[in-house]
Subunit: 420 residues, 2 copies
Amino acid sequence: MRCEVVAIGTELLLGQIVDTNSSWIGEQLALSGIDSMLQTKVGDNIDRMVAAISAAISRADAVICCGGLGPTQDDMTRTALAQVMGVELLMDDDRADIIRWMFRGRDRSMPDSNLLQAMAPQGASFLDTQPGTAPGLRCPITVDGVEKVIYAVPGVPWEMQEMMTAEILPELRERGGKASVIRSRTLRTWGESESRLGEMLAERIVELDESGTSTLAFLASGIEGLKVRITAKADSDVEADQILAQEERLVRSIIGEHLIFGVDEDTMESVVLDLCRRRGLTLAVAESLTGGLMASRLCDVPGASSVFRGGVVSYASSVKFDVLGVDEGPVVSEEAARQMAVGVRAAIGADVGVATTGVAGPDEQEGRPVGTVCVAVSVGDAAPVSMELRLPGRRRQVREFACITALSLLRQELISSAAE
Amino acid sequence: MRCEVVAIGTELLLGQIVDTNSSWIGEQLALSGIDSMLQTKVGDNIDRMVAAISAAISRADAVICCGGLGPTQDDMTRTALAQVMGVELLMDDDRADIIRWMFRGRDRSMPDSNLLQAMAPQGASFLDTQPGTAPGLRCPITVDGVEKVIYAVPGVPWEMQEMMTAEILPELRERGGKASVIRSRTLRTWGESESRLGEMLAERIVELDESGTSTLAFLASGIEGLKVRITAKADSDVEADQILAQEERLVRSIIGEHLIFGVDEDTMESVVLDLCRRRGLTLAVAESLTGGLMASRLCDVPGASSVFRGGVVSYASSVKFDVLGVDEGPVVSEEAARQMAVGVRAAIGADVGVATTGVAGPDEQEGRPVGTVCVAVSVGDAAPVSMELRLPGRRRQVREFACITALSLLRQELISSAAE
């Protein structure tokens, strides 16, 4: 069972919107054991849309077209599908009523253009799931005597996701018969280069290429470290999970536990919150150059409120002096960072403090160049610890790197102070 | 001049990394007047890589392959290119020396696997620009008697971007001869539905379809509002800019200035900072459910430090009472939001305060359901203003929507208070 994805929209080709939908669909297909070997982006041009969809359905058993189902004139997916199928585009009165009814339910008047969304190629059916005003389509098509199917879903992510989950994925799984299961597990590492990890695991990768029960790959996730991804293909969920567990143990023994800070959806901040939670510690942050980024990432973790109490964004130097009790003087220093980490614990009332200060750019500060960053951590009664870094890159990268470095230092301190 | 993009990596198909590189390349090609009509994602499989690259170069004049140039065994772009060209893969001793030298410069030892990166298909040349350890490749190829070119760049975004800017884009522009220029301008709107904007502009879109000097399109950018994109194609930068300026005036007169908060790279936060800067006002934020997101977005704007002084992340209720002077009692209320906006001005020392409080989920709070959000703004001597919202969506969406709503309220207050 092979399924290709065609993402539609000139804005995707022009880079004005990043195509996250194809990524999500690819992930869901893989978890359903459906092979997705090619994904295409094409603009809002009827001829090129028809060519791309036709090419995709000639290679694959199913195609998912994403986008171009809106009510405006540059939404041409319905027309393109009718051409690919070689049929007419017809108005569906029932669906038109549903769309009118949805607008009434929201107490909004319906622009006539929304009725375009009630049109479908002859022989196609509407999906039952319709979270927004754009209906999804299921288009049966016979190619070289083989019965295939093309789905069309809106480009609005949550509308697309609801249709995929409720109808399209179950239908594709059924169509594929007893599909094999593909499962991935990702070990998240921080502090080692891709080539070094590659050397460590080279032998095992060759063994796996020969045995074929699973594969190993590296994903550089930029500032967030390197991921080692284990992928297993098996006949059942249970069997796939067994292969993953076994391979994970092996990989951990090869590259060492200290480099691995988390698994799959773990982030440095979720790991740090867990470490605090287990020891009943509350957390506060003092941020200068990261400017709320660290707090925001911590708050993004559901359940953060049992650990995270808040923080002070001390962007201006006077806020560091007046609110956090930092000694007046240079603020891009390890000493200032340590005083911020201690000071924010007092200001907010927390057991653990973590702080960042430095020069994000575009201009230097206190004679220190852009990229100079100091981070510090204060845990319980122990003396605060700190480090200074010289980071490459632009404003956002410097801020993000400062953020994960501070959280990583906090992780190390929480682990080592627990061991004492 | 047509150029396709082939993004390489199983992690892209499995959705473990979102392909932002193709988006960036697409944008740059458009700005150089080079048509990019199809983009493909393919996994780390040699046969499918060869098929995808061969198909792309058969359709286009040039192809940019992105990814698969690393030092590990799943990096197979070099091998695939040699097969597409029908030549051998050879070691380049000079390039091997360069790679060794780069590792020495960083005071790191070089794993042998990095030498794989010094191999190139016979007849190909290395790009001079090499910001990382992965060299880029320029592969001339003749297809059906036509001389074409395939470039290979690493998947690390900043390495890819440096090679594109320094060598590939200039070469493609030269190869394309006097290329026409494509320019886009995006008007950013907030507060109106896509179909309503579509109806307003329908007539103009039809006119443009007939005249052909420019096009209009809508980009739904989720929580950040709707974008109206004007695209002009012309023989010169000057002419393209003239068409854009003229069309922008027309669009503004049709949909009304009040809906348009910015242009192109403007964000709600950059606009708010500009409004403050022009009036010499300093800004502080008090954040509960947004937890630093608003501060972080403000700090992401270069030059924010002349306006933004800092803020308090008052995630725990006691921080609202103790640090911001909010009356003890319910904290999910407009009254609490107003007290936060006033309180943070005093705590941080600023002319303007903006505040968010509410229930991001997963659980309800004070009997208020998830999605209940109160935002408030305090400007100068005026009484603080506030509003309560009931937002749909999940944790992150609620937080992001609360953030832009608070900033939008601030924008309105700054505009109306300046008018008084």
